[in-house]
């Protein structure tokens, strides 16, 4: 096998190996202890879950969907 091919295989193994090291770090760091809590990370007090953002085309339409948001929130709270 030529040097080039060897380097390719080694680099591929490095990528996989790096992934495994990251995974082990994550495991022992407690990243997987409470998995479902991770889904709340994009939200905070300023922009909490349950509040839609970026609905800039909405004004053109009638205010018909207010109750739909509430329905969604109910669905989310029952799932959790």
């Amino acid at each position: 096998m030529s040097t080039g091919a060897l380097i390719l295989v080694l680099s591929s193994l490095l990528i996989i190996g790096g992934g495994l090291v990251l995974f082990l770090w994550a495991f022992f760091n407690g990243q997987f202890d409470n998995i479902q809590r991770g889904s709340m990370l994009p939200f905070d007090e300023e922009e909490p879950a349950g509040k839609r953002t970026d609905q800039i085309f909405k004004e053109e339409e009638k205010e018909e969907k207010e109750d739909e948001i509430e329905e969604d929130n109910e669905r989310d709270s029952t799932e959790r």
């Binding site: 390719l8 990528i15 992934g19 409470n34 809590r37 991770g38 889904s39 922009e47 953002t53 085309f57």
Partner: protein
């Protein structure tokens, strides 16, 4: 960097956005410039496919130079620069720290742009490296990789200084991308791949991984952030999202050699790649199920959000292109479609319908928040969406439709080779038409971004829409 802050413990979302302002804007604007340049090259190359004599007298305008430069400017100019901007903004928000090394990143961005300019001139002058996805001279490539390494350093610093303990799935994707891409870029620049077969192996190991380990993670990280964020609804299953990430990390890296099916490379290389390509079905389906279950029932909110229109379109394209890729990697399917327009369209679903549409969606969310301005025209955003969406749809249907027939004609010894070329011409014209639609969309996008940044005084005077929504919910 944050030593002057009076509240070192926590940054608000708007504080983080303001600190990200110049870095992200600079990267996105650079990207938009290269998008326009790359679009022009794409149109020229597409027209040349059915008007072969057009612009054929000047060497630097021939297909063999314009088409590779189109690929390189789109990949390293538009998608990489804008993608890096989006990635840094996402990390800043999800790790709750400002982007680190902001000054260095802006300098790196300037060097990156200069490298792209020099590389472009070199390709047009005929000094291409002759390796698909790596046509830029090694000097340009090394400069780009060094710029990414500066960003990687910033990312690692943000990771260490983060204010949250748990890492969101987007963060996983982005950290991995910023570690993987420098390795890919540096290895592919080593002067050791001197025999043709080894060079071909390196070529597709690099090219497929650049898509899968650099652009795909950035795109999926954006999807995992924007879908829950805009809908205000957490991702359906966080466990599934992690499974998707680790599946990608494990399987994607081996995929590249499926480009060399039938080539003079060791068969076990190719067989491993085919197996890994089929294994990719697992993370892809996992991501698709997760996104679908999050979006389902909120279709109206998707329509109402410029960001989600693009992001959901892109996420669906990701599922489609990845499942298609797994099928294409099978030897029996590859025998037909290899060397046809089918594969060209496949690559465009990946880089355009998935990556580019995702970046458009991300820009529609990010730029108003870092500039504190609202978009100039809602109507133009809708035009942008429909022009690009219909454009890439026509492109895909035309080229993949004829690609299959072309493939069967090419493996049929009774069909003269000329016939396999002439049969595609109407579909190549359709491709140019779809290219015009996408070009119009890009011009609209560039105009909107231009208005946002250069003429802020003429923006709509209405209160910022999301502030209004925020107040509504606060009351």
């Amino acid at each position: 960097m944050n030593s002057g802050s009076s509240k070192p413990s926590q940054f608000s979302v708007s504080e983080l956005d303001q600190k990200a302002r110049y870095v992200v804007l600079f990267l996105v604007l650079s990207g938009v410039f290269w998008l326009l340049f790359g679009t022009l090259l794409a149109l020229v190359a597409s027209l040349k496919m059915h008007l072969p004599d057009w612009l054929g007298t000047a060497g630097w305008l021939t297909f063999g130079r314009v088409r590779p430069l189109h690929l390189n400017t789109m990949v390293y100019g538009w998608a990489s620069l804008t993608g890096a901007g989006v990635a840094l903004w996402l990390l800043s928000r999800l790790l709750k720290v400002p982007i680190m090394l902001r000054g260095y990143i802006i300098v790196a961005g300037m060097v990156w742009n200069i490298a792209l300019l020099i590389g472009s001139i070199q390709i047009l002058a005929g000094h291409s490296r002759g390796i698909e996805w790596l046509e830029f001279p090694v000097s340009t490539m090394v400069l780009i990789v060094l710029c990414v390494i500066i960003m990687s350093a910033s990312v690692l610093m943000m990771l260490v200084m983060r204010k949250v303990k748990q890492l969101y799935v987007s963060v996983w994707y982005l950290i991995a991308a910023f570690l993987w891409f420098p390795l890919l870029g540096l290895v592919s620049s080593l002067p050791i791949f001197d025999t043709p077969t080894v060079q071909a192996g390196m070529n597709w190991w690099y090219a497929h991984n650049a898509l899968g380990l650099w652009f795909t993670p950035v795109g999926l990280a954006a999807a995992y952030y924007f879908i829950p964020k805009v809908l205000g609804r957490p991702i359906y299953s966080y466990g599934l999202s992690l499974l998707g990430f680790w599946g990608l990390a494990l399987f994607y890296n081996w995929n590249g050699f499926h480009h060399l099916i039938g080539g003079p490379v060791p068969t076990w290389f190719v067989t491993i790649s085919i197996s890994a390509s089929v294994m990719m079905v697992i993370p892809v389906v996992v991501v698709a199920v997760n996104h679908h279950m999050t979006v389902v029932g909120s279709f109206r909110a998707v329509i109402n959000s410029p960001t989600l229109r693009f992001v959901v379109f892109a996420a669906m394209s990701y599922t489609f292109v990845s499942l298609q890729g797994a099928m294409q990697a099978l030897r029996s399917a590859n025998e037909v479609i290899h060397f046809t327009h089918f594969v060209v369209a496949h690559a465009h679903i990946g880089m355009y319908a998935f990556v580019t549409m995702m970046l458009f969606g991300a820009c529609y969310y990010i730029i108003p928040r870092i500039t504190m301005r609202e978009w100039h025209s809602k109507g133009l955003i809708k035009w942008h969406f429909w022009l690009t969406a219909i454009g890439i749809f026509i492109y895909t249907v035309a080229l993949q439709g004829i690609g299959v027939f072309q493939g069967f004609a090419m493996i049929n010894p009774d069909v003269p080779f000329t016939d396999t070329v002439t049969m595609t011409i109407p579909y190549l014209v359709a491709r140019s038409v779809s290219g015009l639609l996408m070009t119009a969309g890009h011009l609209i996008f560039a105009w909107l971004v231009f208005r946002m940044t250069w003429r802020p005084d003429e923006q709509p005077a209405t209160p910022l829409v999301w502030n209004k929504i925020r107040e509504e919910f606060a009351s």
